[in-house]
Subunit: 141 residues, 2 copies
């Protein structure tokens, strides 16, 4: 899958998985809802963390901004599989206007966020590289 096609798949995916590196050098994963604008992916943290470890992703990013994001489609018909991977550099948006812009993009994409706007941190990921794969028989790719 070439870059433009991979990007198209990323734009329709409703959920992705964020990999960060923890201070011990181990990988950490969480699912994220997200929005894309240009070469930037935005995600936000809800107001009320369910548990302390939910914020591990933010601690990791603050210490090591290298992240990987994956969106994929699973189907029992394996000719329909595809995935898109982004290698990126993340930063927690301190500027209120920039964070608000990210939230606007998220709310435009997810009606759920219009009803309950996230109150936590907003993170911007600069897309350094985008790649992907689709089954050779996949008629939609």
């Amino acid at each position: 899958m070439e870059g433009p096609t991979a990007r198209q798949h990323l734009l329709v995916a409703r959920v992705a998985r964020l990999a960060t590196i923890d201070p011990r050098g181990k990988p950490h994963l969480v699912p994220v809802t997200f929005a894309v604008e240009g070469d930037t992916i935005y995600f936000a943290v809800d107001a009320k963390p369910k548990r302390t470890t939910d914020l591990q992703r933010l601690r990791n990013i603050a210490a090591n901004p290298s992240v990987c994001v994956l969106a994929d489609h699973y189907d029992e018909d394996w000719t329909r599989l595809w995935w898109v991977r982004v290698d990126g550099t993340a930063r927690i948006l301190e500027d209120a206007a920039r964070a608000g812009h990210g939230l606007d993009l998220l709310a435009a994409r997810y009606p759920q966020y219009q009803r309950a706007r996230p109150q936590g941190a907003v993170v911007a990921i600069s897309i350094d590289r985008i790649s992907g794969w689709a089954s050779a028989e996949n008629p939609g790719c």
Copy 2:
């Protein structure tokens, strides 16, 4: 979500995402089909890599066995969300009998593998820790 419940969710998930660390210390993600037996997760690599980078996961594991595996459920009804995360230690199975056992488990779980058994490497991940989260309103968790 407590450990036993998280494990139940893992056992029904059809796809997970594998995070490894590359030699530069950056995270790398791919989707994986998998089987679980006891405290071990198995996955395999297909015979014909689509491109060289498909094997990055194996190079990474050989150099750094720390991995993270995530299975999640997305639904537009956000009260139905859940995810399960495994922190683990991976090893590529060199022993043919052990690799064959992993393939048997995979084929038992995925009819697709019965028709085309993977010819590539088989990897076993020892589950060091399992954790998870589900929406507080999720009736199924």
